[in-house]
């Protein structure tokens, strides 16, 4: 049997990084982007290799507790490869692959294609490292590696005022929150003398009086940094602007992969580094409040929107609120027990399903932008008869996002709310259910526009962009396949979540 070196466990992240560099080299040889197919192909192959590694490791038990090697620590515990890291890396790879396939059509006739793909790859690398970060230092650097290319990508349409404005707002709030995050880390370091999550946890438990306040402020500021990345209250202001102004494939990328990456590192840092009773911060209560406020605000704002893209942007904030339940209801069981894994794992499974359905929904918006049909609900009227396949896919995404029974989104929400109830937080689940009901209203507006309403005027759809179609349909198939395939997904998610908790 071949013995692999330890760093080979980072293959999913390395594949993405190497792909980004290869794209830069291709662009150096051929600066004119004369072969867009080659660029898109390289990017897609790179993400599929990454997905292959992540899936293979998950299946073969690398880094997992039962039947595997146990978590693999690398570089003096700065990084750790375990089930949760691999699970999230698979999510990022899927979303990145969909975005790259769709971008092939979206970028036609545009300059700087190679840069676009390599920036996407670097951002995806940052996300993959975020999932493995086991120290506050690597968490910060990976978070920035994911953020910096994103700022540039949002401003990709540099002659479009909306795109530039979105990027400015995204950047300003991102820079602010990264400074807050860095200061929080420095305060945690001041109180504990370490940046490794495990050492921080043990030092916080044994903290003497003087530095408790410092540690508490530090923990709050670190939470603020993650709130930005996950687009949760109170750092959510950038999300509607950035998602609306950005090129639609990038909106899909940011609202699915980037958000999931934020949750990956949030789950790991808060479950391993900050013990519940330490430092005088009841962060459980903090996340309960944040979860309720985030989902309510996101859903109510989404209900009042006129443009589809902005509605999706606010609904994305709402889904961040659902995913926060995983952390807010986390401490229900005893340490290491199954209940602990249950709600956290349900939250992770929800992020996976969300990765498919939300990416698909934004890519449908990209398709509509490509056809130039307009942005509001009314503009989508009659698309059902013009582009039936894409409209069916969009209908699947909408009902799945709303959590209507026969779709993937229903099961993940069911497990999530059931987990919250089991953990004794029935009121969190109740708020979630009320919000889901409200969300059905605005999601069904899209479906109604697609199939029921008559088109306002005559219009011609300009061709069928193959790549976008493939990506949209694939995302829809993914959402549907998660129906019969949900059992293994939730089992994997819950077992890796249970392994995360010490």
């Amino acid at each position: 049997m071949v013995v692999y070196p330890d760093w080979a466990a980072l293959a999913p992240a390395l594949a993405l990084a190497v792909t980004g560099l290869v794209l830069l080299l291709i662009d150096s040889v051929d600066p004119d982007d004369s072969r867009p197919g080659l660029l898109a192909g390289t990017a897609v192959v790179g993400t599929l290799v990454s997905l292959g590694y992540a899936g293979w490791f998950l299946a073969s038990g690398t880094g997992q507790v039962d039947g595997g090697t146990g978590a693999i620590s690398l570089y003096r515990d700065a990084l750790v490869v375990d089930g949760m890291a691999l699970f999230f890396q698979a999510v990022f790879a899927v979303v990145t692959a969909l975005v790259c396939i769709a971008s092939y059509d979206y970028l036609k006739e545009r300059a700087y294609q190679a840069e676009f793909y390599s920036l996407v790859m670097f951002a995806a690398t940052g996300m993959a490292v975020m999932a493995t970060a086991n120290s506050l230092a690597t968490a910060f650097i990976a978070l920035e590696l994911a953020s910096l290319p994103s700022y540039a990508l949002v401003a990709f349409l540099k002659h479009n005022r909306g795109s530039v404005e979105a990027s400015l707002k995204y950047f300003l709030i991102g820079a602010l929150s990264s400074a807050v995050f860095a200061f929080g880390i420095s305060l945690v370091y001041a109180a504990t003398g370490s940046l490794l999550l495990a050492d921080v946890a043990s030092a916080l438990s044994a903290l003497d009086g003087g530095l408790t306040g410092v540690a508490a402020i530090g923990v709050l500021m670190v939470a603020g940094g993650f709130a930005f990345k996950t687009a949760s209250v109170p750092f959510h202001f950038w999300a509607p602007e950035a998602y609306e102004g950005a090129p639609a494939p990038i909106s899909a990328f940011l609202s699915s992969a980037s958000k999931a990456a934020g949750f990956a590192v949030l789950f790991r840092v808060f479950t391993t580094a900050f013990p519940l009773d330490a430092a005088g911060v009841d962060w459980m209560l903090l996340f309960q409040v944040l979860a309720v406020v985030t989902m309510t605000l996101g859903n109510f704002a989404a209900a009042t929107q006129e443009t589809v893209k902005r509605m999706l942007a606010y609904s994305s904030i709402g889904h961040a609120g659902y995913a926060l339940i995983g952390l807010a209801a986390w401490s229900g069981g005893a340490p290491g027990s199954v209940e602990n894994g249950a709600v956290l794992g349900a939250s992770m499974a929800h992020l996976l399903v969300y990765g498919f359905m939300n990416t698909g929904a934004f890519l449908f918006v990209a398709l509509a932008e490509q056809w130039d049909v307009g942005r509001t609900f009314e503009d989508y009227a009659g698309l059902g008869s013009r582009a039936p396949m894409a409209s069916v896919a969009m209908t699947v995404f909408m009902f799945s996002l709303a959590g209507v029974p026969p779709f993937g989104g229903f099961f993940s929400k069911l497990f999530l709310f059931a987990g919250a109830v089991d953990a004794g937080f029935w009121w969190l689940a109740a708020v979630g259910v009320v919000n889901s009901t409200l969300s059905l209203y605005y999601y069904s507006r899209v479906v109604k526009a697609l199939w029921v309403d008559d088109p306002v005027g005559e219009f011609e759809l300009g061709g069928t962009p193959t790549g976008l179609y493939v990506a949209v349909v694939f995302a829809a198939v993914g959402t549907l396949l998660l129906l019969p395939g949900f059992a293994p997904v939730i089992e994997t998610a819950q077992s890796v979540a249970a392994a995360l908790v010490p």
Partner: protein
């Protein structure tokens, strides 16, 4: 004796000598006020515009940005150079020590090659700049 006294003395000298020289020279020099002395350029060139709001060629920014990024990356070499010799003496293999840094520099080189090929460091002459120059000379 406190070791900080030497530092304090040095600081005192460093601040005191220039201040003393300025004070002494202002006491003994003759004062002859003249208009030319207060103008921006004593050579006689009359400034035409304010320096605020002036626009530089975009290429200055490109070069400056490349400089800032690559210059700051060298900061990450410092910890490595500090541990290099002791680690080598304590028996860490040369490749284990050198290889990660080579990878790091390799990544930077790929970035630089890319920027080069994109023309970020090529000093293209813009038409506006050439025109301004010739107008000025004539």
């Amino acid at each position: 004796m406190n070791q900080w006294i030497a530092v304090g003395a040095l600081a005192l000298m460093g601040v005191g000598i220039p201040l003393g020289m300025i004070a002494v020279s202002s006491l003994i020099r003759p004062s002859v006020p003249e208009q030319g002395k207060s103008s921006t350029y004593e050579s006689g060139e009359i400034p035409t515009k304010s320096a605020i709001g002036i626009q530089f060629n975009i290429q200055y920014y490109m070069v400056a940005l490349l400089f800032v990024v690559f210059d700051i990356e060298t900061v990450l070499l410092f910890p490595w150079t500090v541990i290099y010799q002791p680690a080598l003496e304590s028996g860490v293999g040369l490749m284990t020590l050198l290889f990660p840094m080579l990878v790091f520099i390799g990544v930077l080189v790929i970035g630089l090659v890319w920027a080069w090929r994109q023309g970020a460091v090529k000093w293209a002459r813009s038409e506006a700049a050439t025109r301004r120059k010739t107008e000025h000379n004539s």
